[in-house]
């Protein structure tokens, strides 16, 4: 295994000097008939001419999302999702039932407190079903945010030891939470059957809301997870943030309770449009105004892009500070 000695002294420019020395030689070669103007790039060794697979150098400012690389690592994404699903309720006696129990218990509590005691309106639907509708969406948000929010900190051993697109970690968590969402959705369908709510064509809109929901949750989760690498405070603040956000969203009350003049402002919260839209699809009641819907689409896309770009920008420091 005789291999040529290739180390350079650590003198700066040592490499460049060598290539510059090579450049004039080739112009003197008899094969070259015309002495062209100085080539834009000095002629380099064979390796130089071939493009490096990648180039490592300090980067600054905003970075591209690099979707291509994410696609290359898609298998890892699925494996991470799979792992989280396998692990999250491992060593619990009830297993997947927890997924169902969490929103159900919350729905019952809300139905008693807000439905019976506080007598909040529910746009004419049975309050339990009404609140469960909202909770189906909300459970996804809170699960996605809480799992993804500190996912980077939990994966610090990976981040400091292997390279892969870091976006995958929170992404796997928000995707994994979708599985829970589907399970809860099934429960919702059962409740619909129990309450005799007809299944209509409107249910076909659910996948659309699902995508917007995932966008919003992912965007916010990316922001939180990236921040929590630097500021562990975010891990503690997150549950309160989720709680406040829930009460700022029409989970336990209908949007009709909000004064009309505040509604456009209220609708800036993408959860508003999503929950109302979801109720519209399931219960066939409530308002689904075009203005609110389009605002929701814009805001959720914005959330995703802001989150993703912020993440990419913060990402380069992760391994050093985590």
């Amino acid at each position: 295994m005789q291999i040529a000695l290739a180390f350079q002294s650590s003198k700066p420019l040592a490499l460049r000097e060598r290539y510059l020395k090579i450049a004039p030689l080739s112009t003197e070669s008899p094969i070259v008939t015309t002495v062209a103007e100085v080539p834009a790039t000095p002629i380099r060794t064979q390796a130089r001419q071939q493009k490096p697979t990648f180039r490592i150098r300090p980067t600054k400012g905003w970075a591209a999302l690099n979707i291509g690389e994410l696609w290359k690592y898609r298998d890892l994404l699925w494996i991470l999702v799979e792992r989280d699903i396998k692990l999250i309720y491992k060593q619990t006696a009830l297993g997947i039932i927890w997924v169902v129990l969490q929103p159900l218990i919350a729905a019952v509590i809300f139905a008693v407190i807000f439905g019976r005691v506080a007598k909040l309106p529910s746009d004419g639907a049975p309050y339990l079903l009404f609140v469960f509708c909202g909770l189906t969406v909300w459970t996804y948000f809170s699960q996605a945010l809480q799992r993804a929010g500190n996912s980077l900190v939990r994966s610090s051993h990976l981040i400091s030891k292997v390279y892969f697109p870091r976006l995958l970690i929170p992404l796997a968590n928000t995707l994994g939470a979708l599985v829970d969402f589907v399970v809860v959705l099934m429960v919702l369908f059962v409740l619909m059957a129990i309450y005799g709510v007809p299944f209509t064509f409107r249910l076909a809109a659910i996948p659309g809301f699902l995508i917007l929901m995932a966008f919003t949750a992912t965007g916010v989760a990316l922001l939180f997870s990236a921040l929590s690498v630097k500021y562990r405070d975010c891990t503690y603040a997150l549950p309160y943030f989720v709680q406040v956000w829930m009460y700022a969203s029409p989970v336990v009350y209908p949007i009709s309770m909000v004064p009309a003049k505040w509604q456009p402002l209220f609708a800036l919260n993408p959860a508003v449009g999503l929950i109302e839209g979801f109720r519209w699809a399931v219960l066939g009641r409530g308002a689904l105004e075009g203005s609110i819907l389009s605002l929701t689409i814009i805001v959720s896309l914005l959330a995703l892009f802001i989150g993703a770009f912020f993440f990419r920008r913060a990402e380069r420091g992760f391994a050093d500070i985590i």
Partner: protein, 429 residues
């Protein structure tokens, strides 16, 4: 195809060490940043006052090239920047300045079992870990049997890895990484784990990877013997800069002898690891058979190694000793005072001189390195290796014109001859 696999130019990496009384283990809190904000703004405007943070250069203007198919070693003390270099090459962290160009798919093994989840089974972890290291599912499926048989864990594939022995765990982890098909493989100090048998297997696999399969390997290790054996060229990093780069054998020798003094090395105020106040090493020296302090010894005569140290409080299970290495870093032996039963119990505070006698007619002529260390096994390292003495063993035996013998040691062993009375002297049947 003799082109470049890795080309590094003026690579530097700086870390900021905060001096803001941030003794909370380095975590920034929002509060710290908010409180510090006005001051930072003022400082930026006025550029006055002493800097609050110090810049530490983990790597400073490092340039080198590694050819395709080459196995390059990186050695250096702890904190010399070896791991930082690997992390930059592996894109885990970004350099502060400079560039590195990588030609080919890169795979890294910076730690054995990264991404292993204790709750998942061996099979699941193979997929998980493989994917983290950059393999696709199809690729892992293709290599699955090979990985499992290399790791010798066939029977435990469906057992959660938390029930694996540490040996099995490491074997599986290395097997996955070894079957990763990168054109460039970065390996950091993984061979220190696992049993000797498996270490050999790993070294063999690495050699295979590098020679037969023509891949490029960068290997960071404290195991100088492995470096000398596996790597054609080696870089010696010292405090973030390349001190020497070149042929492995020569770099390893220079590394080992650079800080070594001859005959005796003394610390008037004592030396020890950081945060160690119960132990202090004062001197180490070599005495020849006549009791003179020297570093040139005759191969026929015994010599002794002395270690002066003091302990401040009773220490249980303390051992003081040294390892003797060849100039290429191969460890000939390690010896400790605690090998002797009478030194095994608790040791009272006081100042001691430990003396170890090494018999004559043991070492082959050549240069050796003695590296002293002290500690409580499995508990605390009090004095790290690095306190080294060089000794030259000179041929003085009367073998005269006999050709030099092979072997690291040349013990004079006892031979006996029994003469049997054989009726037939012919050996043929």
């Amino acid at each position: 195809m003799s082109d470049v696999a890795i080309s590094v130019e003026n690579l530097s990496k700086a870390f900021k060490i905060a001096h803001e009384g941030n003794a909370r283990g380095g975590y920034r809190t929002l509060r710290d940043d908010l409180i510090g904000l006005p001051r930072r703004l003022l400082m930026r405007l006025g550029r006055s006052g002493p800097p609050r943070s110090e810049t530490f250069w983990a790597l400073n203007d490092v340039s080198f090239e590694v050819k395709r198919g080459e196995v390059a070693g990186v050695i250096g003390r702890n904190g010399a920047g070896k791991s930082t270099l690997l992390k930059i090459l592996n894109r885990i962290t970004e350099p502060t300045s400079g560039t590195a160009e990588i030609y080919g798919r890169i795979g890294a093994l910076l730690e054995v079992g990264t991404g292993f989840h204790p709750e998942l089974t061996g099979r699941e972890n193979v997929f998980m870990n493989g994917a983290i290291l950059g393999m696709s599912r199809a690729e892992i499926r293709r290599k699955f049997d090979e990985i499992v048989s290399f790791a010798e864990v066939e029977k435990f594939l469906d057992t959660p890895v938390k029930r694996y022995s540490s040996g099995m765990y490491v074997r599986l982890a290395f097997a996955i990484a070894a079957h990763l098909d990168p054109e460039i493989l970065l390996i950091d100090e993984v061979l220190v784990v696992g049993d000797t048998e498996f270490q050999k297997k790993c070294l063999g696999k690495m050699e295979d990877v590098a020679t037969k399969e023509g891949r490029t390997v960068i290997f960071v290790s404290h195991n100088l013997g492995a470096i000398a054996q596996l790597c054609s060229n080696t870089i010696w990093l010292d405090a973030g800069v390349i001190r020497v780069a070149g042929k492995s054998s020569s770099v390893v020798t220079q590394y080992l002898t650079a800080d070594a003094r001859r005959g005796e090395i003394a610390w008037p105020h004592g030396t020890a690891n950081r945060h160690v106040d119960e132990f202090k090493l004062f001197a180490i020296r070599i005495r020849n058979a006549e009791g003179r302090v020297t570093s040139v010894l005759e191969n026929t005569k015994p010599f002794s190694v002395e270690i002066d140290y003091a302990i401040a409080k009773p220490l249980w299970n303390l051992r003081v000793g040294f390892s003797l290495m060849t100039s290429t870093g191969f460890c000939v032996f390690e010896t400790y005072d605690a090998d002797h039963p009478e030194f095994r119990s608790s040791r009272a505070p006081g100042r001691y001189t430990a003396r170890c006698q090494i018999p004559g007619q043991l070492l082959s002529p050549g240069t050796y390195i003695i590296s002293v260390n002290a500690g409580m096994p499995n508990n605390k390292n009090l004095c790290a290796p690095g306190n080294v003495l060089v000794l030259d063993v000179e041929e003085t035996s009367v073998r005269g014109s006999m050709p030099a013998r092979g072997g690291i040691i040349q013990p004079n062993l006892s031979w006996k001859q029994e003469t049997h009375h054989v009726r037939e002297t012919s050996l043929a049947h």
